[in-house]
Symmetry: C2
Subunit: 626 residues, 2 copies
């Protein structure tokens, strides 16, 4: 390092094996910022992983902010710095882009050239050995050149840190994310419903939602949403103005499909429109100014509409008729103070560039325009207020000693006997006892009262009802015979099953069955699942996920987010089920899941009544013991 003075940024693009010593030299020279473009690290296998580990040690030793390795580098378009191996530089704009794929950045830069999309910063995250998306998010939150952050990610290592950062940042400026690797579910052979349903993308989506991040499902959505959010933070009701009936209808369809509302125009607005629009025009939303409209008619109409208090966002659709002068139409649109989205179909490049420069999105497809508006609406509706995470007073001492006992057992699997933990955490359970003999079964039944349910307890019998290893509504005098019947059935169908006993439990009649689940995710920790029991989970996969911890409001929101929520509100003359008690149970369940090393846990069913909830069955998988 023969440089006379310390540099701000070193860019290293030499073979992998020489990188570590180069970074060390930087450290010795006091260089605090290093980009390692070189590949040949973790991504190529064990040898590379060792090189990367070494690199991290050095960076940490000198406190170096290291980007990469195995990345494209970084662009700061504001100051014209292109520290990548892309020969093309993007235009300066207000969208920052963080990407885990370098090649994708190359593609995006070329595409942005065509579409005049501008960027503030572009960062290729590479292997994220030292600096990760969370570090850059923190920076971008304070970056005045950036109005919206666009993220392309394939995976997140520290999910909790990412969420905390994203929550903070998204309050200040919108984050739009596209996550690849959605269907690669590592949960195919899980031991519970929660396990099999909590595929990684579902968990990511829950984390994004909770962090106030807008999710894009495709590349096009990623850019459309980012552009829409770079200027607009609120959508409100939508007014459509069009010179062509068809695209107007497409747009109204999309407004309903994407959960937005058409603004009801005031009678003043309608009167004002009637003054200059031809009588066969449509004065109601969507406002059709007809195919023979000239730019003047369009301009007057958009002006009138923009003054209506009910109108939040205007979608202006113009087909390229001979009467329309797009230069003037663009001019007019720029003067409107409310958010405007355009479908100026078939306009030339200079007009399009002018719109995009002023951050007014223009689409050929009305549906795409409406989707972009709905992203703005989604951002506006995020609730960024901080919810109190209440910790319930629980019988921690008893729970500790129960857990200690469970950890001593050979099996990681805990069945209904784990319900004692629920009781410590203030969750009601149906009274039960475990019987090793018919006599014992009868004794238990006598003490808890009839009728009872009787079920086999065996780590090997998962679907008990399939082999008739459950008897319901067992009355006085039937307990002993039921005991023998269940044992015989299990021995017939599964001779090798280890039988631990038979559970005798008070029959819990009525109520709506729901499932509460928890699965520990390697990135995000405790993931909580909620759904209605039986076929709603199994057939419709109608469940909601949230990352722990949860406030009472989070739990309530989670309950309301499943489609089958209608059944909890009570249909056909039923009373409403006790949502408050259910939400409280979810919070208590979450608290339990965070207090102990549990890999998976499920109350299935939890019965919800008009007043209160009762846990009927339970299973749990302990974390691997150290």
């Amino acid at each position: 390092m023969a440089l006379p003075e310390t540099v701000d940024l070193a860019i290293i693009a030499i073979p992998a094996k020489f990188v570590a010593s180069a970074v060390e030299e930087c450290g010795l020279k006091g260089v605090k910022n290093v980009i390692v473009i070189s590949g040949g690290f973790r991504e190529v296998g064990t040898e590379g992983a060792k090189l990367e580990y070494n690199l991290i040690q050095i960076a940490n030793k000198f406190g170096i902010n290291l980007l990469g390795p195995n990345c494209l580098g970084m662009i700061n378009a504001e100051i014209g710095l292109n520290a990548t191996f892309s020969v093309v530089s993007p235009k300066f704009g207000d969208v920052a882009f963080l990407s885990q794929s370098g090649a994708f950045i190359l593609a995006v830069i070329l595409w942005a050239q065509k579409t005049k999309f501008g960027f503030s910063k572009i960062v290729s995250l590479g292997n994220k050995a030292v600096l990760s998306e969370a570090d850059f998010l923190n920076y971008l939150a304070e970056d005045s050149a950036t109005n919206v952050v666009m993220l392309y990610l394939e995976g997140i290592q520290d999910g909790r840190r990412f969420m905390e950062t994203a929550k903070k940042v998204s309050k200040q400026k919108p984050i739009v994310i596209m996550k690849a690797g959605k269907t690669e579910s590592g949960a195919k052979a899980a031991s519970s419903h929660t396990g099999s349903l909590a595929g990684s993308y579902e968990v990511y989506k829950a984390a994004f939602r909770q962090s106030g991040i807008i999710v894009a499902e495709t590349v096009e959505e990623l850019f459309d949403f980012a552009l829409a959010l770079s200027k607009n933070r609120k959508a409100g009701s939508v007014a459509i103005i069009t010179n062509s009936g068809g695209p107007g209808v497409m747009a109204s369809d999309a407004v309903e499909i994407h959960g937005l509302k058409l603004a009801p125009l005031s009678s003043e607005t309608i009167e004002a429109l009637k003054k200059f629009l031809p009588p066969s025009a449509n004065f109601y939303n969507p406002v059709d100014i007809l195919g023979d409209a000239d730019t003047e008619r369009f301009s007057r109409a958009i002006e009138v509409i923009s003054e209506d208090k009910e109108v939040g966002t205007i979608l202006a659709i113009l087909a390229p008729t001979a009467q329309i002068d797009f230069n003037k139409a663009v001019e007019k649109v720029l003067s409107v103070e409310k958010p405007v989205f355009c479908c100026f179909m078939g306009i030339d490049e200079s007009c399009e560039e002018r719109l995009i420069k002023n951050r007014i999105p223009n689409f050929f497809d009305p549906t795409r325009a409406v989707k972009a508006i709905s992203a703005v609406d989604q951002y506006a509706k995020f609730d960024f207020s901080k919810k109190e995470i209440k910790k319930f007073e629980v019988n921690k001492k008893e729970a500790d000693s129960i857990f200690e006992e469970l950890m001593k057992l050979e099996s990681r699997f805990v069945g209904v006997e784990g319900m004692k933990l629920l009781e410590c955490y203030g969750i009601n359970t149906a009274p039960w006892g475990m019987a090793k003999s018919a006599d014992e079964a009868e004794k238990i039944a006598e003490s808890i009262g009839y009728p009872v349910a009787m079920k086999i307890v065996s780590p090997d019998v998962i679907h008990k009802s399939d082999i008739g290893a459950i008897k319901l509504d067992v009355e006085k005098g039937e307990v002993k015979s039921s005991f023998y019947e269940i044992i015989t059935r299990v021995e017939n169908y599964m001779p090798s099953a280890r039988i631990e006993g038979i559970l005798v439990q008070k029959m819990v009649k009525g109520g709506r069955e729901v499932i509460l689940g928890m699965k520990k995710d390697p990135q995000f920790g405790e993931v909580i699942m909620f759904g209605l029991g039986g076929i709603y989970v199994e057939v419709f996969k109608d469940v909601a996920f949230r990352i722990a911890p949860l406030s009472f409001e989070d739990a309530l929101d989670m309950i309301k987010s499943v489609k089958s929520f209608a059944l909890l509100k009570g249909i056909r003359g039923e009373k409403m089920y006790d949502l408050n008690s259910l939400a409280e149970t979810i919070v208590r369940f979450t608290q339990l899941s965070m207090d102990y090393p549990i890999a998976e846990m499920e109350i299935n069913p939890l019965k919800v009544f008009e007043k209160g909830c009762i846990a009927v069955d339970f299973r749990m998988l302990l974390e691997v013991k150290k």
Copy 2:
């Protein structure tokens, strides 16, 4: 008409009131083809409608093929005929485009100029006074210049004729449709589940599916699917080849999400790839040839992959790295015999034009490419074989006399008493009788056997269970008291309700509840609905629609197309329900619905057993009497 000779085509663009006489002159002169561009007809109100009616009379008198009025005209790009008021003409290609919106055609032509999309014919359908989409479809089926037909429609007048034509045409060449006006459901206040669920777009979608038409939900899909189908008729399993991991992952995600399959590469293919790909490449599908791949590596890889028998379609993804020469990559792709879809990201216009000229779709967004492939797959999977529509032998004579009686009644609404019609059509019903007194109720119960169900019969009480006007499991000795109880409840809750009596019906225990419905649609006639009973219909809206008549296979396919079908296959150790009997019941129900002037009809519930089905409740709305 001072022309010396008869012309092939007259184009009329004069004020509406002069159009009729101009067309008449054409007729007198023997002109057989007329385009009326002029507006001012049906679309402006009653006066215009009269003018249009007059126009139709004249056209019919002279046997004139009249396009319009109120249209943009027509383009035949093959012979360079532009009979529209668009100054720009599209390139010649093999896609025909029929559009109900003229302004949309203007936009499309300009957009196509940019994207080099080519058309064979473009027709602006206008008011469809004489010629409609069905006429043009018939023509296009035989048009050798057209490989695929793209339709933009807002409504269809004669749905049955459209379906018949489309069925015939789509066997020969694909039809892709976008239908606007999806959410405008006129069925909000209908009197049955079928009525409220059979919104017009659902009916259209059913008709399209049954006619072998591919449905596009957005404008982009319309063009993407048309281009994809202009060359390809079969998709098969998909092989992805990429020089960039990220977009490769996006594409694999999309393959799973859109119901396609990744081709399992043969061991020969994998061995062949290993010979020249670097060891850290991915040899399995998606094949990642890595970011440092040059065009030579890409070319060898795509060649090897295209020779694998398991591969149906190749999706080639290339990010614009320095090593890739897109000219050569395009060259290579053109030489591959299997269907290829490209995501050549950031390529220049000349390369893109070359791809599109050779009808190879190129996308920036991998998800969009995969969706286009899935449209091809959907077309390939349409079953165009003609199914026999079996007519069952029914007791038509008795049905006729029952129906005659019903038509004499004052109310159009028919309740459970209509079940007699089902019996005539060979559909099993639970034995029942109608009681006007408690004594009569007991007599009926005695004759059909206990236990029985008892329900109020009143045109005013729709949701009987909400007010407790149903008693189930009524045993011997309880009939009379139940009779009084129901009457009292109805009188308390709905004092004004007209009570026709109390239905006493044999209790039908067990079985899975389904709903069969029929609604007469103004465009398509009898629309049949199927779904599982209760919340599956009410909360999940999980229902299927088909346009009558139905073959046995159609009915079976309909049953299998609902999500909750899993429940009929039998979950958790249940036996499979009798799908054959259910399908037969649907066909018989359909036959009944077509034989009489019925507006709506519903069996709810129909109970399906391991063997057979039984109709438990029924309602019907007769058509307005003449």
